[in-house]
């Protein structure tokens, strides 16, 4: 529950409080708009994650099937030997894009899929099933990088959403009610003082008239 602010009841304080309340309400309205926009972005990221994850898992499953096939055709030792000869470099450029003040990683990468000649293993010692397995895993790698980018974005948005929600709640349930309470207190106190003055003046007038 919001506790009252300690304020002295005068008109200057009343004006200051009105200004503060205006600022708090404006901040609350705008942060709520920001929260709504973040919710839209979060659900969008979530939708993308679901789609990317399904695609990546399907591709990984295909890749593993191709690898099993490769083990069966070429033999386990030969396949492992071929993978040891493979070059494993993937150039990824990670920059950031900004969304409502949140830094979101933006991943850019070139062609993940290579041709059999650039993979590095010997072509005449291996079977075409190895090429197929490698191709499927390269496809899966591209999808996994995309999934990682989307998940990182969703986490960043979720963190900002949580922060914004806390601020909106603090304004809505603590600061604004306190300011309103203090404002009400000052207004009531000022009214009371006015009534006291009025009564005092009436009493003084009555005393003066009695003495005449």
């Amino acid at each position: 529950m919001a506790t009252a602010l300690a304020v002295s009841p005068n008109r200057t304080e009343l004006m200051k409080l009105r200004k503060r309340l205006g600022l708090a309400q404006r901040g609350h309205d705008l942060l709520k708009e920001k929260m709504d926009a973040l919710v839209i972005e979060f659900f969008e990221a979530f939708r993308k994650i679901q789609a990317s994850r399904t695609k990546a898992l399907e591709q990984l499953s295909t890749a593993h099937r191709a690898l099993s096939n490769c083990f069966a055709v070429m033999g386990t030792l030969e396949t492992v030997q071929a993978t040891r000869e493979t070059k494993r470099e993937l150039q990824i450029e990670i920059s950031s894009r900004y969304l409502m003040g949140i830094s979101i990683p933006a991943v850019e990468f070139g062609e993940v899929q290579r041709n059999a000649l650039t993979r590095g293993y010997s072509l005449h010692m291996t079977s075409s099933v190895l090429d197929e397995a490698a191709r499927e895993f390269e496809r899966a790698l591209g999808l996994l990088v995309e999934l990682a980018e989307t998940e990182a974005a969703a986490f960043a948005i979720a963190r900002e959403l949580e922060k914004t929600k806390r601020r909106v709640n603090a304004l809505e349930y603590i600061l604004i009610p306190r300011l309103k309470g203090a404002l009400k207190f000052i207004m009531m106190r000022l009214d009371e003082m006015e009534r006291e003055n009025f009564t005092r003046l009436k009493r003084i007038k009555a005393i003066i008239e009695e003495h005449r």
């Binding site: 709504d36 969008e44 900004y98 969304l99 409502m100 304004l171």
Partner: protein
């Protein structure tokens, strides 16, 4: 008074992601890396796919008039969930994407905002007004 300072800081931060200056679609299409510097010192890049989509939606004569990024203005006075797209060409593009009609200004609602952001995530940005 700390709370007031925090609110002022938050309000100042709301539009920090906006670009220092906007560029036309024609200019963006001519750049190898279409991007604009933002107020917070970072860089906002546009995806070429989106630029090409915008180019398809508009006649070539309007490429110079369309300023990027397109702003979706969120204003508390419009009511919660409502937003505005200002600018004649900008509103035209947004209306085309949503299958609506627009003249000069377009008032849209939350599901439409989500749809626009889904279609053009880098060329459309939020603008907070008060």
């Amino acid at each position: 008074m700390n709370a007031d300072r925090l609110i002022k800081f938050e309000l100042a931060r709301l539009n920090a992601h906006l670009p220092e200056r906007r560029i036309s679609l024609k200019e963006a299409l001519s750049l190898t890396k279409p991007q604009v510097p933002t107020r917070d010192g970072s860089v906002h890049s546009f995806k070429r796919k989106e630029l090409e989509l915008l180019a398809k939606l508009l006649p070539e004569a309007d490429w110079e008039k369309l300023q990027l990024p397109i702003f979706i203005a969120l204003e508390p006075k419009l009511g919660r969930g409502a937003a505005r797209v200002s600018g004649e060409v900008e509103a035209k593009v947004a209306a085309k994407l949503l299958g609506k009609e627009a003249t000069g200004e377009l008032l849209i609602y939350r599901p439409e905002v989500a749809l626009l952001r889904r279609k053009l995530p880098t060329t459309i940005q939020y603008l907070f007004l008060w």
